[in-house]
Amino acid sequence: MAIALASTVVFLAIAAVAVTASPGWPAVRKAFFNGHIFASSFPDIADAFLVNIRLFCIAEAVILVFALVIAILRSLPGPVFFPIRALAILYTDFFRGVPTILVLYILGFGAPALQLTGVPTSALFWGEVALVLVYSAYVAEVYRAGIESVHGSQEAAARSLGLTHAQTLRFVILPQAVRRVIPPLLNDFIGLQKDTALVALLGPIEAFRQSQIDAEGAFNYTPYLVTAVLFVLLTIPLARLTDWLIARDRRRQLASGVGR
């Protein structure tokens, strides 16, 4: 612990000296690290950041379920379900292949233009839909990897008790599969949180767009730093929570391991 602390301090000191000793540092400091502007733009941007938070909270909840459905459809056994499996594969291939920004543009500008009654026209709504569609394709693949990592003998044991295919999935396969994929799942969610900034391209004012406005008003880049700090602050607790969840699971299931 003491060694780790000392080496961290030394490392940070060297990095700080290297940056602040560079010839362009005074200019960079003025443009990016202006304490006044940081403080004055913080409330606006934090306010706009709530839009990002709402975007990804809704998206994550929907994706968790929607992606699972796709993964389950893709794992349906037997020739009868071939068309459904094929559709699931097509979906994941398509939305992982098309750049997120294109999906955003096409849905964000195209869908409202259809002027269908009952269909929302808000850019925020279609930005949300685009994020859900794209990230569900990634998360479905993560789920699928988890499902396939559970050994076939588990399914045999569950079926031998007379459980149906659906019951086997729900009580035996999925609980194990989901536990195994929590880290990659979180990784995709961090990506999603950052990509909520792309929704700004459709017009709504969220943190990134707000920092752009502030930066242009102040002729200073410090507002971008505010946004960056907010995104990082949000990611770190989520990452630590996942680590903790994984460690707790392991402790419960395993008596022995490598002590470190």
Binding site: A157, S160, L161, L163, F171, Q176, R179, Q253
Partner: protein, 251 residues
Amino acid sequence: MSSNGAALRLERVSKSFGDARVLKDVELEVAEHEVVCLIGASGSGKSTLLRCVNLLEPIDEGRIVLHGEEITAPTADANRIRRRIGIVFQAFNLFPHMTVLRNVTLGPTRALKKPPAEAEAEATALLERFGLADKRGEYPDRLSGGQQQRVAIVRALAMQPELMLLDEVTSALDPELIAEVLNVIRELAQAGMTMLIATHEMSFARDIANRICFLDAGAILEQGPPEEILTRPKEPRTQQFLQRIIEAGRL
């Protein structure tokens, strides 16, 4: 015993994996309360036969009849039939994310729709009977191999099966843990459980079996009472197999 009274009957059962015929016209009957042991080299088809009986593998030809009902009929409901047959696997196959108690109650509560309280009471009684009462809250990874396999047996028993299939249940165990599992199986035999057991433990088979069947290349080559098969086998292949077993010091 008339053939109608058999607990289990296999009629000309054949099964192939690709080009490999793993079961060839297998004819086998197990009477009510009878213990039949399947012996034979690895790859002779013992495990496949058990998996076919539990409908974990579809058969290509023939019929399997359980208490007069053809379970391999296309119209048969596999889930309903599996509830009547218990199987214990070589590698235990316990559910690692569930406690011992949940492992045992999963089948009764979900497949048989028993109320959880009733299923738990029955599971606890079974765990007690096999000396596992203090392990009910543990996760499988915290148990020894012998304990895990006993839990697996209890899990199958909790479904109150008409027939138990045991697939080399001691093969993955350390030698000192084998006895505790074999004792459980002995107790089941004494209680009158109908069992079909694939095993490499010849002295155990001699001890417990009413009948021993020698499987060779997917066919039952020879069957009879244990003394007859193990001490006076007629078929040269059976003699060869037993000779190798004796040389390995396992009889």
